[in-house]
Point group: D2
Amino acid sequence: MIILLNLDAGPSERAAVRAALQRQGLAIEESRLGERTAFWVEGSEVPAESLARLPGVERVVPVGSRSPLADATRVSGGRPVSVGSATFGGGQVGVIAGPCTVEDAGVLRDVARFVARAGAAALRGGVFKSRTSPHNYQGGGSSALRDLHAAAREVGLPCFTELTDPRQVAEVADWADGLQIGARQMQNFPLLIEAARTGKPVLLKRHMSADVEEWLLAVEYMLKAGNEKIILCERGLRSAERHVRYLLDIGVVPWLKQRVGLPVIVDPSHSAGDWSLVVPLARAAVAAGADGLIVEVHHRPETTRCDAQQALPFNDFARLMQDVRALAALDGRVVTGSPAREPPPLQAAAGA
Amino acid sequence: MIILLNLDAGPSERAAVRAALQRQGLAIEESRLGERTAFWVEGSEVPAESLARLPGVERVVPVGSRSPLADATRVSGGRPVSVGSATFGGGQVGVIAGPCTVEDAGVLRDVARFVARAGAAALRGGVFKSRTSPHNYQGGGSSALRDLHAAAREVGLPCFTELTDPRQVAEVADWADGLQIGARQMQNFPLLIEAARTGKPVLLKRHMSADVEEWLLAVEYMLKAGNEKIILCERGLRSAERHVRYLLDIGVVPWLKQRVGLPVIVDPSHSAGDWSLVVPLARAAVAAGADGLIVEVHHRPETTRCDAQQALPFNDFARLMQDVRALAALDGRVVTGSPAREPPPLQAAAGA
Amino acid sequence: MIILLNLDAGPSERAAVRAALQRQGLAIEESRLGERTAFWVEGSEVPAESLARLPGVERVVPVGSRSPLADATRVSGGRPVSVGSATFGGGQVGVIAGPCTVEDAGVLRDVARFVARAGAAALRGGVFKSRTSPHNYQGGGSSALRDLHAAAREVGLPCFTELTDPRQVAEVADWADGLQIGARQMQNFPLLIEAARTGKPVLLKRHMSADVEEWLLAVEYMLKAGNEKIILCERGLRSAERHVRYLLDIGVVPWLKQRVGLPVIVDPSHSAGDWSLVVPLARAAVAAGADGLIVEVHHRPETTRCDAQQALPFNDFARLMQDVRALAALDGRVVTGSPAREPPPLQAAAGA
Amino acid sequence: MIILLNLDAGPSERAAVRAALQRQGLAIEESRLGERTAFWVEGSEVPAESLARLPGVERVVPVGSRSPLADATRVSGGRPVSVGSATFGGGQVGVIAGPCTVEDAGVLRDVARFVARAGAAALRGGVFKSRTSPHNYQGGGSSALRDLHAAAREVGLPCFTELTDPRQVAEVADWADGLQIGARQMQNFPLLIEAARTGKPVLLKRHMSADVEEWLLAVEYMLKAGNEKIILCERGLRSAERHVRYLLDIGVVPWLKQRVGLPVIVDPSHSAGDWSLVVPLARAAVAAGADGLIVEVHHRPETTRCDAQQALPFNDFARLMQDVRALAALDGRVVTGSPAREPPPLQAAAGA
């Protein structure tokens, strides 16, 4: 960190800055920049704001990263994350697919079978929902959690589901293979710590208004709790635009890949908020280097109670998987979990 | 809700929409708008997205509010909230003041004495912090909570502190007079529900990227849990700007006052992120009709471990209280808790 | 400017940075910060990006302002701007009022008479409109410009109108007392330069997505063209919110007042986009220190072709002027142009 | 448009709405929606705000597009735009490349030769710059315009350059093959109209805070002026994020392709603001369906006076062109202008 004094700062100001830093036990070096005094301080958690309040301080310039544990994941080829038979990262592209919410066990099985045959790496489905309104459907809870587990096991896929309360973690960890932290809970730190402590893979969505530093610091909470099996998921940012629900930050994919070794996937469904844009966004994500996707798929979206507008019909999902394979192959990557399965027959056209 | 069909929609599309609505048990009325068919449906929680997926549907237009419980607070003069001797709303303006964080019991007592004499309505102080980084100071926890209680009692003020975990609620409710939900936890619904169930007054900050509907739906969760003692607090929105930390949405104050009966206060400290802007923002808030303020005050900000840049020095706080009194008086309002106290002597100038 | 090299930078990297700076004729000083080399360069227009591309450069940190001419306006008490009998700044608060657009000479006269009697400092009215759609009404042009001039002269007020094309400047400067640059043209630099060269007072609105540096650099273009009679006008920022049309950046008022000597006014009408929020926003602006307001006023908004939703009815404007006087008086300020006039009789209630 | 009255509206309110609509010469139909009265009005330019001010009106709901001319471009296979030998759209993908600014004729020729051999469809280069600061380099003007023309002719490519003033249009149209409107001038309507009237192809960048409707309405101005040769260019949106300069709205590409027939290209350079992210963003754009790219290329960015950080080195550009060809081929598209040229030899590694 650089602490730059202003031109008028004299011996007493210099002494005060020096004393404040020493009080915190920080090693400092005094220097000159042009006509000014500057101090150099090592350490990323210096209380910069306090220093900026000292008389004579013109500017405090942080240098270096605030997330050393996330930075460390980059060494030696990164940290691909395996969940059951699927691997995210390290040249493997995984697609997590399934309904928004587990509403009906039979419907879930139909979706699970289709996405598994089409090449999905894992099954998704919400059971403890975090709905904006208390008057909306709040999810199927514990019994839906068991349904999700059963459907995933039947088709041989691992399953992911979302957590919303630290008191749910033990139960969810019993039945799900991967734990999902929704965007709105990205800074629910007690929940992150509990989820991390299970040792299970955790998919951490970025909050729709979090910057990359805040996101990596949320990761840092889980790394500090001892869990490195973290999948980062970009799902779009809140913006003034209305043609998409959230603005997908496609640039964050390569930005993160340059800086951390954790897999980065993209959720085109919540970003678009409109199924007709899901395939192009998903293609863009893979072309930009994403290690995977999480996609909402449903064959009868008009019957669902949640997020119907963004659910991808079966045939579109099957075509998306073909596109993902082709795009991954351009970079010498493979789609995880897919080679062993035959492509599903396309359905007869069904409206949506 | 209006469901507008497109010009090409024929009998089968009309029948499908009708059937989908009936399946959900909704009363519908069919009508014509120009050349088109339209359906009118009562009820605010219609699954609009599912309907929009039906063939022939051009547009689904929600009409009316999604937060009926919040709307109901507006009748019969609103719902002023009393906390100890202080009242927020109903013509009374309350100022909650104190340090960002309870770090030292002696320092806290000094701040408490000063803000009480200057006319504050309540003491604030963080003990369970929700810090962006796990490497930053996480707060003094249970013992700091007791310090806060003691300092508040000594000066005869009620106290507010923040909650971050549903498992903390019982303990905090034992020692604090008002519970505070921080912006980042605005959609931590399990926490909201637990806090509401204590029956204590709850100060709910708006998330820095939440729109007003999302905010009122978070309120709706607490109203549904049976607690009407809710104080809304605007603290600024995330934006591209850097001259303030968060962009204070001053217009939301009158907008809310027109629509709900709950008190609305403003946090100029977190919005500005810079103490030199706190007083003008606070004045603007009261002039726009806010029922109060929550302000960070510290006489030695350069020694603190959190948010030093925005802490208001003692003398500036004393002058702010004078301004608040004058502004409130212009509208025939009074500052709650203040008349009985004599103004504190100004301190000798001390740097910041 | 500080150019910080990374830890690995050796003699050849240092030499390359030094050479690049010397090529640009910049005076540099080499220094050490901790284990690193740093260069200090004077001058605000160093091509920082080019330097950042040099091998071994970790970070380029600009220090100091990019707008020296704007900074210079702050000395010796600032630069109040007088337009006819009205003065903005220097303890005087001016309110510019009138219809969005000059549509009918008779209606304009009615509005002009009312706002003059209520204490407005100047009359506003659009004649060359910058409409988002080519299919919308584009303004009354030259004849409306003459109508505006006539109405203003009749009531003894100066008038302001907007420019959209450098080829209009001469004509508008013949008939208007103050030139207005709309938000969307804030970075239409040829227009700014032509407007500045007339020597007339220029009201420069901030673009709805411009940061403060971009705004001050637009000012800098006009200062460089030799015109110091510049009134800055904040009118709200584009955001994701829908309860107001643009989010008023109330904090920018004190921020600017601390840094530049030019008057700063606020446009609550375009920010709110809803007349019922105009008065509270206007009050907030004056309480935060604004040197004036620009407000759209119309007694029959339901008959207008532009921005009807935000037009303030006559009685509300008269009450707003009373509030402005009271708020200005709290700070020892006066409302410019108002003392000589008697308050207008309130109208019988008329719907809106 | 639907005008929905509130439940309390009686005969006099209905009559007033009816009268207001008739005064504007609009055909209306009265209907019932549930218990309420609704009016249906045809026409996209109804003064909705005025109607919303009438007593008894609860809500005015626009239905349908505001940009009928842009909508009409979609019929019969769209409107590919040809500029010299290059075509954008209709299955052809074109890449416009060149330096940010024409600073030196020799350097420009080197860049032109390289990008032409690598397969670029057109040469770009700024001569009349629209710089944020008046103290920054303002471009080479008329002589640089002639240099650009000469360099493009020498390598057999058409050239694009930016306009900033309606008074420049005739000169630029004499020397450039395609006219470029920069993001900041997207709503400089006099400039748009003059540019359109030349009949030359116009590349219209989206403003960094314009929504899609505003962008299409700017297009509408040019279509109304009689020019259909319009290329839309997305270059990123202003946001709170700092890891990219502007947030690329990748979803707008498919959204536009579904709605208008004009070519849509992407500028990854200005979005990223960092050359290391340009290639992934460019790949994402083509994978999402973009009809082309505009990319800043320079072999010695550290010597330039503008936007050095985002300039792509030669070898990276050559590899990008290979990626673009492979991605276009996945969809059965071709890269315009490229087949006839041999790939350029890669340069020896040169630092950046």
